[in-house]
């Protein structure tokens, strides 16, 4: 348990520090955030043609309302936590990498749902938008990370891929 937490914290600190590094921001985080905005708009346009994106902003052409995807809303921190938890948990490397790949997909899929829901909540009611944005979705994204990690650990256990502790 102690080993898990030490590796978990170390990996997280390293990845979080790297995320804030300017070259990583410019080369990875901001391009990803813009891609997230484009993915959200492509999905939105399937039933709402009055929406477009520029940079990290999603905007309604009908009423001008827009949401900007800021740090903390692009799912990167949640992915960092998931990666750290999977790397720290004793398991074969192949399964770590597959788990990380599928886990990031699951977290980002949930994040697209967050962005889309906030886009509409913001047009409907400012207070509900603030509540969902600042508190509810923050918690739900982390619950998503927890569930993905638990499913992954359960898969490992079900396929006898966990190390044997003790004699």
């Amino acid at each position: 348990m102690l080993r898990f937490f030490i590796i978990f914290l170390a990996v997280q600190a390293a990845l979080f520090g790297a995320e804030l590094w300017q070259p990583v921001q410019m080369g990875l985080v901001i391009p990803w955030t813009e891609t997230l905005a484009r993915i959200s708009v492509v999905l939105l346009q399937s039933f709402d043609p009055d929406v477009h994106s520029y940079g990290v902003v999603i905007q309604s052409l009908k009423n001008g309302f827009g949401v900007s995807i800021q740090p903390g809303c692009n799912g990167v921190e949640a992915c960092i936590i998931l990666i750290a938890a999977m790397l720290a948990f004793p398991s074969p490397w192949k399964h770590k990498l597959v788990g990380i790949g599928l886990g990031i997909l699951a977290v980002q899929a949930m994040n697209v749902l967050r962005v889309i829901s906030l886009y509409y909540l913001g047009q409907w009611n400012k207070e509900v938008f603030e509540f969902a944005h600042l508190y509810l979705w923050q918690a739900l994204i982390m619950l998503d990370v927890l569930v993905v990690w638990l499913l992954w650990v359960r898969y490992l256990a079900g396929h006898s891929l966990l190390p044997k502790f003790g004699s």
Binding site: L20, P71, Q138, I141, L143, L150, R154, A157, G158
Partner: protein, 207 residues
């Protein structure tokens, strides 16, 4: 794979989360009080030279300083203003309802004690988030006239920025999950045992 245990847990957590968030939101100004006291102790201990007091207004915690702000354009030459840094408890405090929802969904033994323990453990981390939100405003955002009055170098400002980001983006959602895993391993153990048993059953049946 039978995921009903996890699905049921997740559903209960979401339902309890909505309830707990609503109650927590309503009680925000009371729940912010112990965090304000801790922040005041930190301010008095570590930056007593330029901090004057901590004031609470609703869920907003304000650090009053004796740092001089430059007069705004058009103000009289003898006008002066002092910097006040502000942080909202709610923005960093939602880990508490999250933790309570996790416990209410998993129903561990001695749940009340674990809830209280978890809530107490969260307090210093919430104070961390508030203090570094203040420090970010003072050392990074307030401008060169204010930072010149302090002893923060570039390294210190970078560390403040890092600690602020960590304290607002990572700690609030992560800590309740970590505390729950530490204080209640029943669900985690049950998941593992269930998975082992599912694998063992077909092997036992085979000749």
């Amino acid at each position: 794979m039978n995921v009903s245990l996890l699905a049921g847990f997740l559903l209960r957590v979401i339902l309890w989360l909505i309830v707990c968030l609503g109650v927590w939101y309503g009680l925000g100004r009371f729940l912010a009080m112990p965090v304000a006291w801790l922040c005041m102790a930190v301010a008095q201990t570590f930056f007593s030279g330029w901090s004057e007091a901590v004031e609470q207004s609703g869920t907003t915690l304000a650090l009053l300083t004796n740092l001089q702000l430059p007069p705004p354009p058009g103000a009289p030459a003898n006008a002066s203003a002092l910097l006040t840094a502000e942080a909202d408890y709610r923005v960093i405090g939602y880990g508490l309802p999250m933790l309570l929802a996790l416990f209410l969904a998993s129903r561990p033994h001695a749940m009340a004690v674990k809830m209280l323990t978890g809530a107490l453990v969260l307090l210093p981390f919430q104070a961390w988030s508030i203090v570094f939100t203040w420090l970010k405003q003072v050392a990074i955002q307030a401008g060169p006239e204010v930072t010149a009055q302090l002893q923060f170098g570039d390294t210190a400002r970078n560390l403040i920025g890092l600690a602020y980001q960590f304290g607002t983006l990572v700690l609030p959602p992560l800590l309740p999950v970590v505390l729950w895993l530490l204080l209640d391993r029943k669900l985690f153990s049950t998941l593992l045992v269930e998975a082992y048993l599912e694998r063992a059953e077909p092997e036992e049946k085979s000749p």
